[in-house]
């Protein structure tokens, strides 16, 4: 897959869709195409987050460690983004990510992602929107857990 195809791909992400075409291209050019084998760990909870990944092809399992062993909290696939929390807060990875199939990704480094957000208010707004909706989601889950207890 060439650069042009990658540009097509990231255009589908709300965060990147509003930035100028030249910048989308720059983002792809400066990013790394990275392939993981099935079963290969992308990162572990507690690692320092230095990049996020966009899934081009394949599936990823997100797990957290619990006293009873690893718990799958999410499964992600094509056109989804992984690991963006750790590169914005100065917090380590909150969960582990493992490729369950052969996995093609676009690895966007922390510095690159930061510079895109810094220069594109629309992208920043979009990011805030995503994070806000996740927060709402988590809060709702928390309430559910509390009341069921």
């Amino acid at each position: 897959m060439s650069l042009e195809q990658e540009v097509e791909l990231i255009r589908q992400f709300p965060i990147f869709s509003k930035i100028q075409p030249a910048k989308q291209k720059l983002l792809c050019f400066s990013s790394e195409r990275l392939t993981f084998e099935a079963g290969q760990v992308m990162f572990r909870a507690g690692d320092v987050g230095d990049a996020c990944y966009i899934v081009i092809e394949g599936r990823v399992e997100i797990t957290v460690e619990t006293p009873k062993g690893p718990l799958v909290v999410n499964t992600l696939g094509r056109n989804e983004i992984i690991g963006e929390i750790a590169i914005f807060g100065d917090v380590p990875r909150t969960a582990s990510a493992t490729a369950t199939t052969r996995l093609e990704t676009l690895k966007i480094s922390k510095e690159l992602f930061h510079s895109v957000i810094r220069e594109n208010p629309d992208a920043a707004l979009e990011l805030i929107r995503i994070l806000a909706s996740r927060l709402a989601n988590t809060t709702a889950q928390l309430i559910k857990t509390r009341t069921s207890n």
Binding site: L3, R33, E37
Partner: protein, 903 residues
């Protein structure tokens, strides 16, 4: 050192100076003769005084000395040759010529001897100064600046060498010359003599008076220049602070003020110098005026013959210049004396180490067993405070002792006194019955291994730094034969005459025996052991992998590497890692290599085929043209330029993406933009040669797999392969050394060890490919037992100034290894591992203590908790030893250690 310059000169060069004196006297006699002869030439053959008749003859070279009467009056020893007037003129003129030649040769000889002597004395002076630096007590270095010391030895004493040659001979020679001429003139005619004498007196009295101010200025200039050197060095050392505090303009103003001061000094100097020059010239030229006037009048009056007048004027010509030079000499003398005194002052200190302390001792008696006994150690700092106060303890020599306490508690001072780097103000340290405070360095430097908190590495290889602690004395003299022997003998003679060290730097200085090995080969094994102790083996191994080595380095190196390459290939054929490395294959385009690598299919040696020069290289251009690739590459370059412009043109300069990803520097973007506009105007084929080169140069760094620009399709790949073949086939003889081709059976000297073993490129796009390939390579090297070889190569790594090419922690590790390698009776470490992180520090402590089992260790620790590993603990507080004993006992005793531990 002698306080005065002449004391120094007389002490060390009296004999040589005396040897020149006879030559000077001889040259005076010849001078007198050569002054006298013109008179005879003018009066006798020219004016015909002794030739009354056309056929009269005169005896030439008649020797008839007039002896006192009791010896028989005049004796005719040689009748001489009877010559007529013209031959007599020729004979006399030739004699004059001979005198000139002899006097010239004498001067040459005298000058050579002066120069020789001067250089020898300069060598001695420089050596003595350096010797003093080596003997300064350590606290003295807080007061001196290294740059100033270096300029003093290097530049400031330089003129001394020139002067020392002149110091005694010149006044003798010039004074003799002037006196001879003066005496000659006086002897010819008393009036003319008085004129000449008067002129000389004026010159000799007035000029030196005017020069006094010059001396003051010279001294000021010298001090200002030295301070400037010191200040510049300070700025260089403190450059981080300058940037961090935005004080660069303050520093500019500071230096500007200094330069301004120097300018004024120098300007006044020049003004005065030129004034003096003018006066000097005037004085020396006004005398001939008087001679013409007075002498001419005397000649007209018939009271002086013409020959004498001519001779007097000729003699006077020789008078002002020696006088002037004599005055110059005197000026130089004062100047140089000031310099000498100043330099010597800087190098004089009362508590300089006695030379005996540093004398070479082949087999000094070293402490083997017994105790380390400190009695009543007290150390005063410069302002008289007690930094160590009555410290006494006694431990077995083999004991491991931790010294803990708050910063400034006296631990560091304790370490320095224990290793005798600083002698105590009172009290003694004994080790195995030897008084360390009085022992020569031959004992302390071998029996004690000291490492401070920031150890210094010399800018040589890692290995040489490690071996540095074993170079106490020449262990094995080099052998010389034939020509080199006589050369060595001359060297030795000269060294001895200049009072320099007579030890041969080319001898074997490394004391293998002291390290417990038999020779250099066994030493490599020992170094590996010590590297493991200090946890440095892995780092040096990495360095070794990244180093490029010549095939001849080490026996069987190339073969071993090729073996590793083959094993590596077999290993990489296994499924799962196969796609991690794309190997070099003559018949295939390597998508993980740059276009340049694909074209050359080799590693450039030197600059000829460097990737930045490829587009301009005539042979490369020829190959591109012949294979029809030029047009394609130009198109690719054009596309690439467009893409780069699109991607990067509105990024600010210095943006990190530029540095990392752009093919075009920010400054070059406008230029490339212009070229693209040109292309749009006239078409790609008709742009200028220089622009064409710029575009053509771009694609060479392109890596298809990584950059994913889709600019190199399969057809183009095939044509590049064709060009690759063409390049190799037609490569002219003289360019063969500029490249080493990738050949699976050949070692590539220009590439790193890692690249040699890999023989390919790690594929981009595979997660963790670097780490995984690295692991495989390590396995292979371990299996083939090549790890030590790689470490050995890593040991050749040059550490840079002060070890700057290594991380600080590794520098400390090397310093610790250096101390361990020489197997001292006692290791004294002053926070030697303080820069390491806690985990590494613990590991290092454990390793070092394990390897020093049964041998003494004194370690000043800034973390009291680490003292648990030691047999004994000393707790220092404000210079006093407040607690000692076993860690386990002191921990619970409620004393100082417990307080430290809980603090």
């Amino acid at each position: 050192m002698e306080r005065g310059l002449f004391g120094f000169i007389l002490r060390y060069s009296k004999r040589e100076q005396w040897m020149i004196v006879p030559l000077v006297v001889a040259s005076m006699l010849i001078l007198f003769a050569s002054l006298d002869l013109p008179k005879t030439i003018v009066n006798e053959p020219i004016q015909g005084k002794r030739f009354p008749n056309p056929d009269s003859t005169v005896a030439f070279l008649r020797i008839a000395p007039t002896l006192p009467d009791f010896l028989g009056g005049q004796q005719v020893l040689f009748e001489g040759f009877a010559l007529e007037r013209a031959p007599y003129l020729v004979a006399l003129s030739l004699t004059f010529l001979a005198l000139i030649i002899v006097s010239g040769l004498l001067k040459l000889k005298i000058n050579t001897m002066k120069g020789w002597m001067g250089e020898r004395m300069l060598r001695r002076l420089r050596y003595t100064l350096f010797d003093h630096i080596l003997r300064f007590p350590l606290p003295h270095f807080r007061r001196v600046k290294s740059a100033e010391m270096a300029t003093m030895i290097k530049d400031e004493v330089e003129p001394l060498g020139g002067f020392i040659g002149e110091a005694i001979i010149s006044p003798l020679f010039l004074g003799g010359q002037a006196l001879t001429a003066l005496f000659f003139i006086l002897y010819q005619h008393i009036y003319l003599g008085i004129i000449a004498f008067f002129m000389v007196i004026v010159q000799a009295v007035v000029i030196p008076r005017m020069r006094r101010r010059l001396l003051v200025l010279t001294k000021e200039r010298q001090i200002a220049a030295r301070q400037l050197a010191g200040r510049i060095a300070e700025c260089v050392d403190g450059v981080v602070e300058i940037h961090a505090h935005d004080t660069s303009n303050y520093e500019r103003a500071e230096i500007s003020a200094r330069l301004g001061k120097m300018f004024l000094i120098r300007f006044e100097l020049f003004q005065r110098k030129f004034m003096i020059k003018f006066l000097n010239n005037f004085l020396s030229q006004v005398a001939p005026f008087l001679f013409y006037l007075v002498g001419g009048y005397l000649a007209i009056a018939g009271r002086l013959d013409i020959g004498t007048l001519v001779a007097v004027i000729a003699a006077y010509k020789d008078l002002p210049s020696p006088v002037k030079e004599l005055i110059d000499w005197d000026q130089q003398r004062m100047d140089v004396q000031i310099k000498y005194t100043q330099v010597v002052e800087q190098f004089t200190t009362d508590d300089i180490t006695k030379p005996e302390i540093q004398q070479i001792i082949d087999m000094p008696e070293l402490p083997r067993q017994g105790d380390v006994r400190a009695s009543n150690l007290t150390l005063l700092d410069e302002s008289g405070n007690k930094v160590l106060d009555g410290v006494s303890f006694e431990f077995d020599l083999a004991e491991h002792v931790a010294i803990v306490g708050h910063a400034g508690g006296g631990g560091s001072e304790m370490a320095q006194v224990l290793s005798r780097l600083v002698p105590p103000s009172s009290g003694t340290v004994e080790m195995g019955g030897i008084d360390i405070t009085r022992a020569p360095e031959a004992v302390t430097g071998r029996a004690i291994g000291y490492v401070g908190a920031t150890a210094y590495l010399f800018p040589v290889s890692v290995r040489e730094n490690l071996l540095y602690g074993l170079k106490h004395r020449p262990v094995l003299e080099s052998s010389y034969e034939g020509e080199s022997l006589s050369k060595r003998e001359t060297e030795l003679r000269e060294s001895a005459k200049a009072g320099n060290s007579i030890h041969d730097i080319r001898a074997e200085w490394i004391d293998y025996e002291a390290a417990g090995v038999s020779g250099s080969e066994e030493m490599e094994g020992r170094i590996l052991e010590v590297l493991r102790v200090v946890d440095l083996e892995e780092a040096i191994f990495e360095v070794g992998l990244r180093s490029s080595v010549r095939a001849g380095q080490g026996p069987g190196l190339a073969e071993s590497v090729l073996r590793a390459r083959d094993t590596m290939r077999a290993r990489l054929d296994m499924p799962g890692i196969k796609e991690l490395v794309e190997r070099f294959d003559l018949a295939r385009f390597n998508r993980n290599a740059t276009l340049a690598e694909n074209l050359l299919f080799g590693t450039p040696v030197g600059k000829t085929f460097d990737v930045d020069n490829l587009a301009r290289n005539p042979y490369v251009r020829k190959v591109l043209d012949e294979s029809g690739l030029s047009g394609d590459l130009l198109k690719v370059g054009h596309k690439l330029a467009e893409t780069m412009l699109e991607l990067f043109s509105d990024l600010p300069p210095g943006h990190e993406l530029f540095e990392r990803f752009s093919f075009i520097q920010h400054d070059d973007l406008p230029h490339v933009k212009e070229i693209l506009a040109q292309v749009a105007d006239v078409g790609l084929d008709r742009i200028q040669e220089a622009d064409r080169n710029t575009l053509l140069a771009l694609p060479f760094k392109l890596i298809s797999a990584r950059h994913r620009l889709g600019l190199i399709d399969e057809a183009l790949e095939a044509r590049i392969l064709e060009a690759r073949r063409l390049f190799a086939r037609n490569l002219p003889e003289e360019l063969r050394t500029a490249i080493e081709f990738f050949d699976p059976t050949k070692f590539i000297g220009a590439a790193s060890l890692q690249d040699n073993i890999l023989f390919g490129k790690i594929a981009t796009g595979q997660a963790e490919s670097n780490a995984r390939v690295g692991r495989v390579m390590r396995e292979v090297l371990d299996e083939l037992k090549l790890r030590p070889l790689v470490v050995t190569i890593g040991l050749d790594y040059q550490v840079g100034t002060g070890g700057a090419r290594l991380p600080v922690a590794d520098r400390q590790r090397i310093a610790i290894a250096r101390a361990i390698l020489k197997r001292p009776a006692v290791l004294v470490f002053d926070q030697a591992a303080a820069v390491l992180d806690l985990a590494s520090k613990k590991r290092l402590l454990d390793n070092v203590l394990a390897c020093r089992k049964g041998c003494g260790v004194y370690w000043v620790l800034n973390r009291p908790g680490l003292a648990e590993r030691f047999g004994r603990v000393l707790v220092m507080e404000k210079g006093r030893l407040v607690e000692r004993g076993k860690f386990a006992e002191l921990r619970e005793s409620g004393g100082a250690l417990q307080k430290l531990l809980t603090a």
